[in-house]
């Protein structure tokens, strides 16, 4: 797994940081809009604490940035580095999905595993 993929929750599909970046890839959102969007596309309902823990980490790493506050709600948007990170994480996930699909279909695996050496 690449370093960039590891930066976004180790490339796990249900990781809050990956879900937030995916949601923000469609445009800036504040906390509540993020929760609703993530629930809609991933079927995962994040808790407020979990969401803001992930937002804190993403902002510290420069993968998202805050926009001007709207009352007490503050929207966030994905940065260029965040988009790049998301692309790497998705590529990493895609490799696993392709491999799993190939194995389920009975096609030969593309990589040599320890068991077959």
């Amino acid at each position: 797994m690449t370093r960039r993929a590891a930066d976004v929750g180790g490339g796990r599909s249900n990781d809050p940081t990956l879900l937030i970046l995916t949601s923000l890839a469609a445009g800036p959102k504040h906390g509540h809009a993020l929760l609703l969007d993530i629930e809609a596309f991933a079927g995962v309902r994040l808790g407020p604490g979990t969401l803001y823990g992930a937002i804190t980490r993403l902002e510290q790493r420069g993968l998202i940035e805050p926009l001007g506050a709207d009352d007490r709600r503050r929207p966030y948007r994905i940065t260029a580095e965040g988009s790049e990170c998301l692309a790497h994480a998705l590529a990493s996930l895609r490799r696993i999905v392709d491999e799993a699909t190939a194995r389920l279909d009975g096609r030969p695996a593309r990589r040599t595993t320890l068991a077959t050496r």
């Binding site: 808790g47 407020p48 980490r57 510290q60 503050r74």
Partner: protein, 302 residues
């Protein structure tokens, strides 16, 4: 819609975090409340996330803190664990009085060896902590000379006044004890019992106050890498001493229980169980702190 009842949830988070994200989080919780989604699960989620954020901010969790901050956080965790261990150790020492008299001589070898191990490990651990304090004497002096006294004055004054109070209560209880019979001192006199409990609370507050002062001071000291490495070695020694004491205490406890069934009295010895559990937790935290310090990149003990 503001819900003042939810504001307390922010107390789980460190102050800097609250200042930056607090209102946003509250606004989100309130939006969730409007859709009837706030319950115990949300409270637990916010509490867990807040404590996790505190651990991140103190340098005990995550890779974001600088290596030096991670080493420092690990060392301070070991120091706090040692303080908790000392409290449990003092309680255990009080609970284990007269075990020799109640244990038959032929069965005394194993518990005696375990007890001696506890004393030896306690001496080694104490010496390591004392050496660690001596190592930071120069940086502490430099901090004071550079005007840092104002930053550390308050916790030091608190610790010193708590110590003074404990000494005063100790002297009063000791003088009182001389006028009481052995039966009165061992539960016969309710007032004396209450005074002794007060002394124990004062002692506990003193240890906590000095630990808090040490943490406040240590965060402000400028320590060279060599000193940090030496402190890491000492922290590892302290953690090992705690593990050895916990293991030896368990052996002592089991051996005494096997040799003298009357020593612990009827039922479960809750006091000893609590003290031993405290020792186990403190030893675990000591090991975790040491690992945090040792694993920080660029600050290996080698």
């Amino acid at each position: 819609m503001r819900i003042p009842g939810r504001t307390w949830l922010l107390a789980f988070y460190p102050r800097e975090w609250r200042e930056r994200y607090g209102q946003e989080l509250l606004a989100l919780i309130e939006a969730e409340a409007e859709s009837g989604r706030v319950g115990l699960r949300t409270t637990l989620d916010v509490g867990r996330a807040g404590l996790s954020q505190r651990l991140h901010s103190s340098g005990l969790l995550g890779n974001e803190p600088a290596p030096e901050a991670r080493v420092r956080a690990g060392l301070l965790l070991v120091l706090c664990a040692w303080c908790a261990f000392v409290v449990a150790g003092i309680g255990l020492q009080k609970s284990s009085e007269q075990w020799q008299a109640l244990t038959p001589l032929p069965d005394r070898a194993l518990p005696q060896a375990a007890f001696d191990t506890v004393l030896l490990a306690a001496a080694i651990g104490s010496a390591a902590v004392f050496t660690g304090v001596l190592l930071v004497a120069r940086p502490l002096l430099a901090l004071i000379l550079s005007g840092g006294w104002q930053q550390i004055r308050r916790p030091l004054a608190r610790a010193a006044s708590t110590t003074g109070l404990t000494v005063a209560v100790l002297v009063a209880v000791a003088v009182w004890a001389h006028h009481l019979s052995s039966a009165q001192r061992n539960g016969g006199d309710v007032l004396y019992g209450a005074a002794f409990l007060g002394l124990a609370v004062c002692g506990l507050c003193t240890i906590v106050a000095w630990a808090a002062a040490a943490v406040t001071i240590a965060r402000r000291l400028t320590l060279p890498p060599r000193t940090l490495r030496l402190e890491t070695w000492l922290a590892a020694l302290v953690a090992l001493a705690m593990v050895a004491m916990t293991a030896a205490t368990s052996v002592w406890w089991a051996a005494v229980a096997a040799a003298s069934s009357g020593f612990f009295g009827p039922g479960l010895p809750w006091q000893l169980l609590t003290l031993t559990l405290t020792m186990v937790v403190a030893a675990g935290l000591g090991c975790a702190g040491t690992l945090r310090a040792v694993r920080a990149p660029g600050h290996r003990t080698r």
